[in-house]
């Protein structure tokens, strides 16, 4: 280095550093963009394959209805399955209240009991009184005459009086 550098030496060096930094950022940014990124639709195409490979958690109602585990030998189960289509809960998935099939059965063998809730928590996910619900689903009210007489609050378990599998017969039967 000479004793008297150009009066602009430090400016040139700064520009070199900035350009190098920009190049590193640009290059590093490219490295962060996934190979299968679809910039038109803003998603990573490889994600679809990955999602398809994940083990399924839910089996759907058919898994419960047609399983060999509950083929009539389990009376309770058969009774519930017979009740369900007659009532207003006919469209619900078993797993909505009883937990995902994956935590109950694995490789065709039972691994744990299905969840049975003795609280109103599962019921309130649909029946809690919330602003903005359109009222197609009945909303719990402690002001309902019978509720009022029996001092029922949200803390009580609905199943003490209501059958969750057959809450009300369907009108269009």
């Amino acid at each position: 280095m000479s004793t008297r550098p150009s009066p602009r030496a430090h400016i040139y060096r700064l520009i070199v550093i900035l350009v190098a930094a920009l190049a590193v950022i640009g290059w590093g940014g490219q490295a962060l963009v996934p190979d299968t990124w679809d910039s038109d639709n803003w998603y990573r195409k490889a994600a679809l394959v990955e999602l398809a490979q994940r083990p399924p958690l839910h089996g759907g109602n058919m898994s419960c209805e047609t399983s060999s585990c509950h083929d009539g030998s389990d009376e309770q189960h058969a009774k519930r399955l017979a009740e369900l289509p007659k009532g207003t809960h006919y469209g619900l998935a078993c797993e909505s209240c009883h937990g995902p099939l994956a935590s109950h059965v694995e490789n065709g063998r039972k691994t744990a009991d299905a969840r049975i809730m003795r609280t109103g928590e599962a019921c309130l996910t649909c029946h809690a009184n919330l602003l903005g619900r359109d009222g197609k689903v009945g909303q719990f009210s402690s002001e309902h005459p019978i509720h009022k007489a029996m001092q029922v609050t949200e803390a009580k378990y609905c199943g003490q009086c209501h059958n969750p599998h057959l809450p009300k017969p369907r009108k269009n039967q």
Partner: protein, 392 residues
């Protein structure tokens, strides 16, 4: 609800369940701190670009202050959004169609500009320290010289030219930086309290006000602590600038409301009850009557009369303190007030002040105190005022 009147002759305060005030204190202090950056920079640029000689003695101080505020301008956003591990991805994978990410690029390039300008300003001092310091600090000083360890008059001239050039770019850049914040709000067409093309200009002018007022307060405090003489000429000039710019800011802020009120259109059916109801205290009493009218009178007297010495200092500092609060209130009223309007135009959501937590009052105070702590640390390392050497 302080008022019984609701917008659009609503009988009950009807708000949809998706009406929440998600942008709370952090989004109030974010444009506030960003504004202080822009405001402080303008003061230093007034000297560099427009040759306002009286500001020469505080141009370095203004730059350092802008830099300190700038360092923390993004922190409220980070606290609001979380995800620090992804915070820098907006620079690495740019999206040019989002106004919010554009802010990231403007802000980052602006901070770069500020840093380079500071570096040029202090190059002589950096070289001097690099020659006389040993150990790790010496290595840091030496790295900062970029290996150029002589400071010649020719180089000084080059530095001056580049500094003026950067300051000249810096002014529109600061305007862009803060105009954007107003744009984010002004472009929400569904919100009667936000949607106005004036919004960027309102934000920008009030930003300059807050920056100048904050500089005056900081300057007086620093000189008082150091028991040094006050530069009354500078204070007087700054007061005149501050008063004029604040008049402009107040005019613009008021214009929008006056237009809406006079037109008596759909916007007023929402804004009227908002200002008479939930925002009455913070807007009408706070922002307008207490924090705008009073400083206009106080600073007007300080700017136009022959008052000098201690009385001038008191007047200017009271006025500046009120203005610093005024802009903070204005940010709150815009950010939170606009979210109070229900999406049904039939009521108001309530704002609950959080104290603890990531976006609470305590966190806001910590974030807001950080630039001042940083300034103190920097002032221990490099000389900011000519008569206050670091190791004096």
């Amino acid at each position: 609800m302080t008022s019984s009147t609701l917008p659009n002759e609503a009988l009950v305060n009807y708000i949809f369940p998706n009406t929440h005030i998600d942008w709370s204190l952090m989004i109030v202090i974010y444009p506030y701190i960003t504004g202080l950056v822009a405001g402080a920079f303008v003061v230093s640029a007034l000297y560099h670009v427009f040759n306002v000689k009286t500001f020469e003695r505080i141009s370095r101080f203004a730059l350092i202050a802008a830099f300190c505020f700038g360092l923390f301008a993004g922190v409220p956003l980070l606290l609001h959004l979380g995800q620090p591990q992804r915070a820098f991805n907006i620079f690495l994978t740019p999206n040019t169609t989002s106004a919010m990410s554009i802010f990231g690029y403007v802000y980052a390039s602006y901070m770069l500009l500020l840093t380079v300008e500071l570096w040029l300003t202090y190059r002589e001092y950096i070289i001097q320290r690099a020659k006389e310091t040993k150990g790790i600090p010496g290595v840091i000083w030496n790295v900062l010289t970029l290996g150029v360890r002589t400071y010649t008059p020719e180089a000084a001239r080059v530095d001056h030219k580049v500094t003026v050039f950067l300051a000249a770019i810096g002014i529109p850049w600061a305007f862009l930086l803060h105009g954007y914040v107003g744009f984010i709000f002004g472009s929400v067409k569904a919100n009667a309290w936000w949607a106005t093309p004036l919004q960027p200009i309102v934000f920008l002018v009030s930003a300059i006000v807050s920056g100048m007022a904050m500089l005056l307060l900081m300057y007086t405090f620093i000189r008082w602590r150091a028991r040094k003489a006050y530069d009354l000429d500078m204070i007087k000039t700054m007061t005149i600038y501050l008063w004029c710019i604040f008049l402009l800011a107040f005019t613009l802020e008021t214009l929008e409301v006056v237009y809406a009120a006079y037109e008596q259109g759909h916007h007023w059916t929402v804004i009227g009850p908002l200002l008479a109801g939930p925002l009455f205290d913070s807007f009408v009493i706070g922002q307008v009557l207490t924090l705008s009218v009073l400083p206009i009178l106080i600073l007007g007297y300080a700017a136009l009369s022959n008052v000098w010495g201690k009385p001038l200092l008191y007047l200017v500092n009271i006025g500046a303190f009120l203005l610093v609060l005024q802009v903070l209130f204005m940010r709150f009223n815009v950010v939170v007030g606009g979210q109070m309007l229900s999406k049904s135009d039939r009521g108001f959501a309530e704002f609950h002040l959080e104290v603890l937590g990531r976006e609470g009052l305590i966190m806001a105070i910590i974030v807001f105190a950080a630039p001042f702590v940083t300034y103190y640390i920097i002032s221990r390392i490099i000389p900011i005022f000519d008569d206050q050497p670091v190791r004096g």
